[in-house]
Structure formats: C-alpha cells, structure tokens
Amino acid sequence: MAAAAAGRGPGSGPGDSPEGPEAEAPERRRKAHGMLKLYYGLSEVEAAGRPAGPDPLDPIDLNGAHFDPEVYLDKLRRECPLAQLMDSETDMVRQIRALDSDMQTLVYENYNKFISATDTIRKMKNDFRKMEDEMDRLATNMAVITDFSARISATLQDRHERITKLAGVHALLRKLQFLFELPSRLTKCVELGAYGQAVRYQGRARAVLQQYQHLPSFRAIQDDCQVITARLAQQLRQRFREGGSGAPEQAECVELLLALGEPAEELCEEFLAHGRGRLEEELRSLEAELGPSPPAPDVLEFTDRGGSGFVGGLCQVAAAYQELFAAQGPAGAEKLAAFARELGSRYFALVERRLAQEQGGSDNSLLVRALDRFHRRLRAPGALLAAAGLAEAATGIVERVARERLGQHLQGLQSAFLGCLTDVRQALAAPRVAGKEGPGLAELLANVASSTLSHIKASLASVHLFTAKEVSFSNKPYFRGEFCSQGVRESLIVGFIRSMCQTAQNFCDSPGEKGGATPPALLLLLSRLCLDYETATISYILTLTDEQFLVQDQFPVTPVSTLCAEARETARRLLTHYVKVQGLVISQMLRKSVETRDWLSTLEPRNVRAVMKRVVEDTTAIDVQVGLLYEEGVRKAQSSDSSKRTFSVYSSSRQQGRYAPSYTPSAPMDTNLLSNIQKLFSERIDVFSPVEFNKVSVLTGIIKISLKTLLECVRLRTFGRFGLQQVQVDCHFLQLYLWRFVADEELVHLLLDEVVASAALRCPDPVPMEPSVVEVICERG
C-alpha cells in the first residue's frame, strides 16, 4: 500500500483530488476496501452514502463497479488531446503496476493462513469419513436389538396376563379373608384391649361391608361386626365413664369413639361433663383449703395450687377438646367456652374469697407474687379459649385487688396520721404537768411530718410492686395508665392529703363547746403542718409519685396548685380557729371577772386586779407557743419607735381628754359626740377576722377578741366611782403589756379607751383617777 501511495504521489492525473497527498490516503484506502467488498459480494450500497465518492454507476469511473472500458476509451479519445492521452496512458500503466505489486504483497502476507486453512479442511474430510462408518454400524446393531425385543415381548405376553390376574385374585382373596376373619379379630382385639387396632379394622371394613351388604354372606359378617363394634363402643364408653384414667387416655377413648362414628354432639357433652367432674374435684379441694378456719397455706401457695390443679386441668381439657372436636365448628367452640366460663367463674370466686382474706394482711410483695402467678397461669387457657374471657376476668380480679389494696393503703395512711395526732395529744397533755411544754412543740411537728412522710413513702413503695416490670400484669393498660394516675396518684396520695386536710378541719368544725376537747396547741401544730404541706411537702410527694409511676397524661389529675390551695385554706381555718379558741379562753376569764364583781361598792383601787395579770401571763404564754411554730410577722412601722414609757404617757393624756367633759352637766352628750367623732377617723375593727400566718397576726386576733369582750361586758354593768377607777387601772395595765404583741398598737389603745369610756358612761359619779397615780399603781403591780 505504502508503495502504491508513493507511486502515485508524483502523478497528477484526472482521478487525483486537488487537496493534495494528505487527504488522498483515506480516500485510497476506502477504495481498496470497496474492491474487497465487491469481491466478496457485499453490496457497495452500504458505502454509497459517502459524500465524497463519485457516482458508482458512472461507466467512466475506473474504480466503479460498472466501469466500461469502451466508453471510457471513447470518452478519452473524443475529449483529450494527444498529449493528455499519452499522459493518461502512462498513468494508467503506472497504476496497473502499482496494483499488481499491491496484490503480490497481500498474497505474501496471507500465505500462511491459506496453508493452515487448507490443512484443516483436509483433516476434517478424513474424520467425517470415519464417523460415517461407525454410524452405519450402529444402525445395523439397533435394528438387531429391536428385532430381539419384539420377539421376547411376544413370548412373554401370555404369561404376564396370567400373573396379573392371579395377583388380583390374591388381593381379593386376602380382602375376603380379612372380612371373614374380621369378627374374630375384632373380638380378639376387644378381649386384648387393643381398642385402637379394633377401631382401625372396623374402619377399613366398614365401607366394603356397606357396599356388599346385599350379599347374604357379607350381611352376616356385617351383622357380626356391628355387634362387636357395639360391644367395643360399650366398653370404650365404660372406660371413658370410669374416669380413673388420666386426661390423655380419656382423649384417646373419645378419639376412638369418634372414629367408630359415635355422635360427636353427645360425646362432647360427655367429655365436658367428665372434665367438669375432675375440675370440680379440684375446686372442692381449693374450697376446703379456704374453709371456715383461718387459711393455713399462704396466698401464694393457694394460687399456686389453684394454678397447677385447676387451671392446668382446664388447659388439658380445653386442648384435648379442641383437638378432638375441631370438626364441630363454632357450636362446639361455644360449648367449650361456656364450660370454661362457668368453671372459671367459680374458680375466680374462690380466688377472690381467698384474696379477700388476704386483704387484712400487710405483706404486699407476697400478694403481688401470688397475683402474678395467678395471672400468669391464666394466660395459657386465655390464649386457648379467647372466647371464654378468662384472661380478661383474671385481669379484672387483679385490678380489683389492686384497687382494694390502694384503698387499704389510704386507710392505713389515715389511721397512721390519726395515730400520730393521738400521740401528739398525749405528748401535749403529758409535759404540761412536767412544766416544759415549750420546746416540744416544734419537735412534735417534725415528728408528725416525718412519720407521715415515711408512711406515705412506704405505701408508695409497696404499691409500686404492682407495676414492677417482672410482674406479668404490669403491662396491662390498667396498670400502665389508670392504676398510676387515678389509683395511686389521685385516690391514694391526693386522697390522703385531702383526708388529712379534712381531719384537720374537723377539729375546727366541732362546735365550740366540744372544741375545748381539742388542745389549742394541736390546732396550732396542725395549722403549721398544713402550711408546710402547702409550701413544700405536697409538691415533693406528688413529684415523687409522678416519677415513680410515670403517670401518663390521659386522665385528668388534680394539679398541685389545687391541693396547695386546699392545704392553705385548711391551715388558715385551723389558725383562725386557734385564735378563736384562745381568744375565748381569755375573754371568758375577763367576762367572769367583770360579771361577778360588784362594781358599785368596790373600794378605791390599790392594785391591778389579779385577773389582768393572768391575762397578760396567758397572752405571753400563747405568744411563746405561737412563736415556736410561726414567724414573727410584720408590725406597723409606728410601733417600732414607741417605747413603753412614751406610750403610756400618750394614752393617759388621751384618756384625760376623753372623759374630761363628763364633769360638765351635759357630759353624756359630749362624750358621745367625742367618741363618735373619733370613730369617724378610726377604721372599723373586725373582731373575728381571718388571720395571717405569723405570730403577730395571731396574737392580734386573740387580743382583739379579748378586749372586745371586755368592752361588751363593761357596758352591761354599772360602776361606782372606784369601780371606774379600777377599770382605768386595769386598762392601763393591759396597755402597758399588750401593745408589744400586736401588729398595730393603735388598735389596743382604741379598744381600751373605748372600755374606759364605756365604764365612765355607766358610772353615775365618773371621777377618773389621776394618770400619774394610775401609772404608779400599774408599775407597782
């Protein structure tokens, strides 16, 4: 090729493209390919699409398939001058040479391949010849074999047919023999007790006998068989009824009877009746354990026994029944379910009775374990007999027990709380004799609080056992949801806190005359306890509960704030009641002292009356008592800078001013006017008003009640001159000592002034004592 290219390079013939030698090479190569294709008969059409190629049909194209030398030559001769002809001639010669050399090169290059191809073809020829021979031999052999085979078949044909016939006869004979022997075999089987075998024989023969019963001999056999079968059935039933054997044998009997074609309906009845007998036996033994006498085995043992005896038996019966009478369909299942339901309910009744006996006990873990066993045991029959609802009933019982348990815990907590209160009462009663009642109060409060809290915690812990992970019923929806939120949180904890508040409030509600039975210190202590609950303990307990029981939010629960409000209200009522009770004690003292004295004929006062000292002492004692539990509280600012001295001077001068006009004839009018004017500027005093949670407020309440009583009592009496003066002295004394207890000392002034003014009004001869003398007497006393 390269030589051809080189040969053509210098030429510039008419076939040459004007682009030059670089573009010429692919063109030429394509031409060579085209020729090869032509040689091998491939259509040039595939290549016709090429744009550069000249028209292949052109007869003057040297390389075209339809080249016509005559046309070409004619064309050349007509168109070209001589020189060009000469050129084209030489050019043609050169091209022909180049093509020759190209051809030679191709042949050289592919020589080896031709040689080997020739060899291969020669070898193949040889092999095929050999194979042909062998095939021929095979064909002849096969023909021989076919021939032989046909001959053998023909020979054996006869005998084969006979053998087949004989075999058929033999089988028939054996069947017949079986049939004839059947009665005796059956009898033998029945005698030997191989009921299963007998039933199988019977089953095999039955259809045949049925079919051929019109033949007398078969009829006889059939009759015999029927008699024997009846006997067999009889015996099986006998065995079944005897019932000494266990459940599996029973099941076998029933199975055989079914196979004998006994009516299934009746059999299920009997089967169930039999099962009932055994299960009732179990129930009776359980009931005997319950007995009227105290239960000997503990509840765990009881449920264990019930579980293995009754529930196990029930499972066996149910499983056997379902296996045997599966063909019975829904009616049979219904029968079984009813059976299980009835017996189950009796069992549950027994268990509930036993559990009820357990209710008194305090050991929760044992109870929970027993319930767990009970519940776990019943899951098997529950799965087996979904229709009977045993598992649901069991869950129901567990839930009931849990609920009752909660109720018990609540009661336990309540009684523990009451016990605490009784202890406190005794403690309050006892040390009063010993004379050191004081320091005990805070301790008592702490004791009550801590013991109540520990009881609550203990209850929570023991109730928590119900929801432990390993307990089988803890994942029931009741125990996950309602038990936690409604049961534990609401009815146990919230219920207890409520009942605690209620118990405390009952101390206030008891009518006044009986209220004396409640020591005031107890009221105070309870009030503080409730207040502490409001501030901290309630939220602590509820948080603890929520954490332990992971209360889910689907049920509405009492919010902490409501409980706190209740506790606060209770605390407030208790404290108010305390104020009333203590105020009543002091006011009774004051009332008696005013009412029993003859104020008209009293002597000139030399001393403060003892009762006033007593009042101050009692007030101080109350102050100490309240101070143990409650904070000081705030006073009005003005009291902080008023000392005892300035106060007394101030009040005395005021008193002077107040009843000075009573010397004049129009005294009553003026006094009234004065007191009215004064009242216009003073606020109304609510005597029994709600108190705040601090010492000052409590004391203010008590003192208000006492002084108001004094005022009302004084107004009911008539005073002589010295009587008035005695009142003056007493009031001054009270002023000296009571102001420090109250939030607003102005209140004490006002009430005491009012007392003296009222006494002056009730005095026909109102000559007040000199303030200085009053002071002297008071300081002396």
Partner: protein, 287 residues
C-alpha cells in the same frame, strides 16, 4: 331589786299616737324576792293579761287583773342545776294558743309550757357561747331563731333539738338581736356588736318558699307552669344587705309593726337607723 314595769311600748297603738300622753305606773310585778329581772314578755295574743318575767333562775307568770292595776303571780318555775343558772332572755311563742315560752340561759335554749310551767324541750349548747336573743317564726309553728356570742344565728325546729336546721355565720362579733319579719318570715334581721345589721333571706326555711306562691291546682296550664318552674330554681338563702351605718355595737333590731318592709336598729352610741327592705326584693316577694 323589784322589777319595775316599763309600759308604753306594750300599750295599744292609739295611745302611742298621742305624744302628750304621760306614762303612769300601773302596777308592780311582784313583791318578788327572785333576784334581778332579765326579761319581761307579754302574751303576744289573747286579752293581754298575762306577762312572763325572768328573774335569775326563775320563770314567773303574772296575771294582770281586770284593770291591769294589780299583778298576781299565777305560777312559777325555777331552773335547778349546777352553778348559778341565770335566764338571759325569753320569748313567748305566738303559736299553740300562746302556751309556750322559750328561754335562754347561758348556752341553752329551753321551752316551757305555761299551763303546767314545765319544761317541754331543751336545746343544750344551742350556741358555743352565751345565747343573746330568740325569736319565733310568726308563721311557722316550732320554728325558732337564736343568736349568741359565737357570732352565729341558728334556726331550730323545736321538735328536733339535736341539730339546727340552718346556721348563719355572717357577723364578726356577738349577735345581740334576731328578728323575723312579721309577715314575710323569710326576712330575718340580725344586729351585732360588730356594728353591722344584716338582712338575710332565708327562703329555704320560710313558710312561703318560692314556687308555693301559686297553688298546685292552678298549674294545670302548661304555659303557666314553665315560668313557675324556672323561678323555683333559685330559692337560695342569701344575705340581702349588710347595713354599716352604725359606728358602735348594735344592740337591738326590730321590724315595724305597721309597715312590713320597714325596720329599725339601735346602737350603743344612741344612733337609731331606719331602713327599708330593698325595693327589688320587695317586689320579688310580692309578685
């Protein structure tokens, strides 16, 4: 000290109409050596000849003679018991032909039959503290109101003395006086030493509760029945009004005997306040 009769208030209204009429002493009750008299009560009906007086622990029934010029001790009884028992107040029941009297001593309320002068009932510890006043329901037999130092007003059925029917606790100090309205006994007036007068509407225990105003026979008409049933819903006892005009303890309250909607209260400072039942309530009761 012999008890002195203070007539005037008990005279006929015609006499009171003439202001110039001077008071004159008609007679003395007694020469009784029974101690100080706490209370005198006229027979509320009848010919006005009988008077009860309570002196210390004695209850004395006086018979004023024809001319009211002489009082004869008709019968008497006395209270025996531990300590010094003293009657504080008494009230004559307008029912039972005026044969019953209720008295209060300390925390107890006792009923007496004037014919035999014997005790017929006793409400021990009717109040936590001293009982200050009593009043009988004028329209309903056996119903009695009491008030006392425990700031409460209690309503009793004297046939069952173990429990009060109703208890009010509106005052903040001793309740000194309690009065039923003479004609509309759901209106109860109380005065207290907390300087307040409270008018309460005790519908639930009155003789004319809501819904009974129309006879049952008239209720055959459905249209009429419906509004009636609606009005039956709110028979709730309630405080109608609290009057705070007084500056000092109120010791007495009473209803006008002429106008059932008028009442007066008297306080320590000598102030007499006259008030009317609120108009709305009045129409509510009347219509």
């Amino acid at each position: 000290m012999p008890a002195e009769l203070e007539p005037g208030g008990h005279e006929s209204p015609e006499d009171a109409a003439s202001p110039a009429h001077a008071l004159e002493l008609l007679c003395h009750l007694g020469p009784a050596a029974h101690g100080s008299t706490a209370c005198v009560a006229w027979e509320p009906a009848g010919d006005g000849k009988r008077v009860i007086s309570l002196a210390d622990n004695h209850i004395l029934l006086w018979d004023l003679q024809e001319s009211s010029s002489q009082a004869v001790l008709a019968s008497s009884a006395s209270l025996e018991g531990k300590g010094q028992l003293k009657f504080t107040t008494g009230r004559w029941s307008p029912h039972h032909n005026c044969t019953q009297v209720a008295t209060a001593n300390d925390t107890a309320v006792r009923g007496w039959d004037t014919r035999t002068m014997s005790q017929i009932y006793c409400i021990e510890s009717a109040h936590g503290q001293l009982v200050r006043d009593l009043d009988f329901n004028p329209n309903k037999q056996y119903y009695l109101a009491s008030c006392g130092d425990d700031c409460r007003v209690k309503f009793w059925d004297t046939r069952n003395v173990t429990e009060p029917i109703k208890t009010l606790e509106e005052h903040s100090h001793w309740v000194w006086s309690v009065r039923y309205n003479h004609s509309h006994d759901q209106l109860v007036l109380t005065g207290s030493s907390d300087s307040r007068v409270i008018l309460s509407n005790m519908v639930s225990i009155s003789s004319e509760p809501f819904g009974h105003l129309v006879d049952d026979d008239d209720l055959s008409d459905q249209e009429e029945r419906r509004p009636e049933e609606k009005s039956q819903e709110p028979p709730q006892d309630s405080v109608i009004a609290t009057y705070e005009e007084h500056e000092d303890s109120v010791y007495a309250v009473d209803w006008s005997s002429a106008d059932p909607w008028l009442f007066a209260s008297l306080s320590y400072d000598g102030r007499l306040v006259i008030n009317r039942v609120p108009r709305a309530l009045k129409y509510h009761i009347l219509l």
